[in-house]
Structure formats: C-alpha cells, structure tokens
C-alpha cells in the first residue's frame, strides 16, 4: 500500500464525504428538533437535483443560477413537507411510530411522483466549465477541480451552520426547542419558527449536496436520494444526534470508510460495501450508543 495510492483514495473520498456530510447535517438537525427520522430528506435532496436539472436543461439558465434553483427547489420541498405532512401530523400529538410512517409515506410519495413524471432512468446532470478541470500533481496524483470546489463549499457551509447553531440567537433557540419545546415557549421562543429554521437550513444543505452529487456523478434520477439518504442518516447517528460538526465529520468518516473498504481489501470484497456501512453503524452503536460525538440537541 503505497502512500501515493492512499493519498489518491483520500482525494477520491473528498466529494463523496462532502455529499454525505451536507445531508447528514440535515438529518441531525431535524431529528434533533422534532425527534423524528425525516425519511423524506433524501427526496428533498432529489428534488433539489431535479430543480437544477430542470432550470439548466429546460429553462436554459446558467449553471450558477441552477445551483440557486436547486437550493430553491429543496427549500420549497422541505417547507411543503413540513407544512403538509409533519405539522398536521404532530399537531395531534401522535405516537412516534405514526410520524415515522407518515415521513416514510411522504418519501415514497415524492419518489413515486418524480418517477411518474420523469421515469426511472438516469438523466445527465448539467455541469459548468470551471468545475471540469483536472489537476495532475508532480507525483501523479489526480485531483479534480470539482472535488476542490465541493470540499471548499462544504467546509464553508459546515462552519457556517455550526457557528449559526452554536452562537446565534436563532441557533441557540433552535437547540433550546430541541431540548424542551415547552420551556422554550415560556421564554418567548416560537417553536414553529425554530422548526421552520431547521427545515430551511437542512433543505439548503440538501440542495447544495444535490448539486455536488450531480456534478460528481453526472446523473439525476428519482431514486438518487434513497441509498445516500440512508448512509447520511447513519452518519447523523454516528455524529451524535443534533451535533452539527459531529454529523459532518461522521459524513466524511463514512465516505472515506466506504472508499477505503473497497481500496484496502481485495476486489472480491467490494460488493459488500453496503454491509460494511451498516456493520460500522452496529459496531459504534454497541460500543457507544449515543454516537461518536456528544449529542447536542436531544438529551436521550
């Protein structure tokens, strides 16, 4: 195992880890504040990708405009899901299971809707010239410009959201609502606003993540959010629910772990990659049931 080989694999994990990290933050925030697995988060991600695809392909916008379209699409989807699925569902103070199934229904419905409209096939995702370059270092490492962009943007967003949640009034209020919604109301925090903020942030990140996914793999499909959504949720659990930087770090750990699992074992094992991710989850949950880092929102 040469250092050169490892270094290249590490570079390979940059974009995949970033995609997972951005998604994982979304899961962690919504789980933190509402205590529910937002199963439809993968679909919010998918809708972002379709929004970008549609804007560039059909409306002939430029790629940067497409990125904003992706964010807008995701945010719209996230807020609609919050408004028409979770809010009416939670209003009746249901059992956790009810909300879980509703969220799963929302996910299924959106995925099927997009399948109905666009078909199951993969469509080409637009890209921009400035993302396409390849840098080859003297030692022969290949670095794609898009990976650098994705990594850079992700780091900025992760730091931004972490600072927001940690230090701004709205961010602290969000964590307060996550801890005890009733107590938060008594000091004058509007719980609904905090929940909306969480959905807004989660959706923005999902939109960016969708663009990163599209640029990296060049495709957009209605089922794109399913697999990666599960992986990202695992990352959220590993990172300690509600812990924003934790989720991001865990996203990179899983992204890198998947790459290294394939890279370090003989080719025959590559197909067991899904099993590896879950095995990692089981292992960590048994050793440290609250995740790698301290949960930051829910104290359970």
């Amino acid at each position: 195992m040469s250092a050169h080989y490892l270094a290249q694999q590490l570079i390979n994990a940059l974009s995949h880890g970033s995609i997972l990290a951005l998604l994982a933050i979304g899961y962690t925030m919504i789980y933190g504040i509402l205590g529910l697995i937002n199963f439809a988060h993968g679909e919010i991600f998918m809708i972002g990708a379709f929004a970008c695809f549609g804007a560039v392909e059909f409306l002939e916008m430029s790629f940067p405009a497409g990125v904003f379209a992706a964010i807008a699409g995701s945010v719209l989807a996230g807020l609609l899901i919050e408004r028409f699925v979770y809010r009416p569902c939670l209003k009746r103070k249901p059992e956790a299971l009810t909300v879980f199934i509703a969220s799963f229904g929302a996910s299924l419905g959106l995925r099927n809707l997009f399948t109905m409209l666009f078909g199951d096939g993969r469509r080409p995702f637009p890209s921009a010239g400035f993302l396409e370059g390849i840098i080859v270092t003297e030692s022969g490492l290949t670095v794609n410009v898009k990976d650098l962009w994705i990594f850079g943007v992700t780091v900025i967003l992760v730091v931004g959201v972490s600072v927001f949640v940690k230090h701004t009034k709205a961010g602290i209020a969000m964590r307060a609502v996550a801890y005890d919604a009733n107590a938060a109301r008594l000091v004058g925090i509007n719980g609904a606003t905090a929940v909306l903020t969480a959905f807004l942030l989660a959706s923005i990140l999902a939109g960016v993540s969708a663009v990163a996914y599209g640029v990296s793999y060049g495709i957009v499909t209605p089922s794109m959010g399913y697999q990666i959504g599960l992986d990202a949720f695992i990352a959220a659990v590993l990172g300690g629910i509600g812990n924003v930087p934790g989720a991001a770090v865990a996203g990179y750990i899983i992204g890198l772990g998947e790459i290294l699992f394939v890279a370090l074992l003989p080719p025959g094992y590559s197909a067991a990659r899904p099993t590896f991710v879950w095995a990692l989850l089981f292992l960590i949950l048994f050793l440290k049931p609250s995740g790698l880092f301290r949960p930051d929102m829910k104290n359970r």
Binding site: A176, Y179, A183, A184, R185, L186, G188, N190
Partner: protein
C-alpha cells in the same frame, strides 16, 4: 396588575379549576399555597397561556391574555420559573440566560440584564460556560429564576422554587426572591411550604380542590386557626 376573575379551566374533560378569583398588585409578593393537586400549577399554566381557560378572564395590565399563545406572554412582560427546573440542559448557563432574554431587542440591553442577573446570582457567573445539566440542584433553580427575570418582567411567576433543595439553599433563594421584588417586580409565588410562603409574601391565597378556600394578608393568615391546623401544624 394581574387579575383573574371567575376562571374555570382543566385538561380535556377533567375540570381542575372551578372558578377562582385572584389578584396580584404592583410591587407585591403574593403566595398561592395549598396541598398537592389543588390546581396551583394549573393556575400558573393558565397565566402563561399553555392552557386556555374554559371560562373567565385573565387580565394583565388591563389586557386579556387568556387567549394569546405562550411565546407571546413572555414579551408581554411575564416571566416564569417552573416547577422541575425549566432550563435547557444542553445549553450553557450563558446561553440559557440569553434564551431567558430571548424577547429582548438590542444587544446592549441583553448585556445589561445579564450583568444584573450575574450580580444577583454570582454563582451563575462562575459557571457561565458550563452546561446547565451539570449544575447542582440549587444552581439550576437559580438559573431558572435568573432566566425568568432576564426579560425584566413586571410579573414573575415562581412555581415551587424550594422543591427538592436543602434548607440552606432555600434560604438563599428566598433572599434573592425578596431582592427581585424590591427591584420592582410583582411576584406570584406558588409554594407547598406554607410557612415559608407566608413569611415572604404580603398577601396569600389558599387553594384547595380547585377553589380558593381563604385569602387575605399573609400575617393574618399565619394566625388563622384553620391554616395553623392544616398547614403549619408541624411548626
């Protein structure tokens, strides 16, 4: 300042409060005492807007607040420290206080109030960066009260501030309550320890089974044979 008239309230079909009248005047401490399950906490919840009364009115500074949602009550000038330490365990002491002052507009004002609370409870200042859940019981109670007064409330609702605390700590807390009142806040104090409550308050209401049984100036109530028999007998 606060006046409750003929209020009826409950949870779903179970009626808990059967028509009470209660008044807190400006600058006074009013105690609401009574046995467990008498409806004291429910009364507090009606004032904070968590429960909407079935009948009757809750007026604060002349305006009916029975129908406004809880998160608006705080900005109307009512602070509340609830039974069971209404603090955010996952936030630091500083952050908790900042949340207590959530409705304050302007950074300077927030700083000023925070300094005031730190003056009131120097212990909190020592613990400012610590997570609230790591504090001791007494410190948590101080924090809860500190949060409630951050907003410089005209009316402070205190629900069982002595619950589960060592007597020494209870004395400290009650000193602070008196101090807060001297700074200008009216206080409605819900307390199980009747003797303690009558000592600090100017007037008191005794609540039993959802109704006000007796009310009057605290020193008079302290001499009332019924009160002595029922509540102060142990003393």
């Amino acid at each position: 300042m606060l006046s409750i008239e003929n209020m009826v309230a409950g949870y779903g079909k179970a009626q808990v409060i059967h028509g009470i009248d209660l008044e807190v005047r400006s600058g006074e401490i009013v105690a609401l005492v009574g046995p467990n399950g008498a409806g004291k906490t429910t009364t507090i919840r009606c004032i904070t807007g968590e429960i909407r009364p079935v009948k009757g009115s809750v007026r604060y500074d002349g305006a009916n607040i029975a129908d406004i949602p809880p998160h608006r009550v705080a900005s109307a000038g009512i602070g509340c420290a609830r039974e069971g330490r209404n603090i955010f365990g996952n936030l630091t002491v500083y952050e908790n206080l900042a949340m207590g002052g959530y409705v304050i507009r302007g950074h300077l004002k927030l700083r000023e109030r925070m300094a005031w609370v730190y003056d009131l409870f120097p212990r909190l200042k020592e613990r400012t960066g610590q997570l609230a859940e790591s504090l001791s019981g007494g410190e948590q109670q101080m924090l809860a009260i500190g949060m409630a007064v951050m907003n410089e409330p005209g009316l402070l609702l205190l629900d069982e501030p002595s619950l589960g605390l060592a007597p020494v700590v209870v004395d400290q807390i009650y000193e602070k309550i008196a101090e807060i009142c001297r700074e200008g806040a009216s206080i409605l104090l819900v307390e199980q320890d009747v003797g303690l409550a009558l000592d600090i308050s100017r007037r008191a209401y005794v609540m039993e089974s959802g109704q006000i049984r007796i009310s009057g100036p605290s020193d008079e109530l302290g001499k009332d044979p019924y009160i002595i028999d029922t509540y102060l007998g142990a003393r």
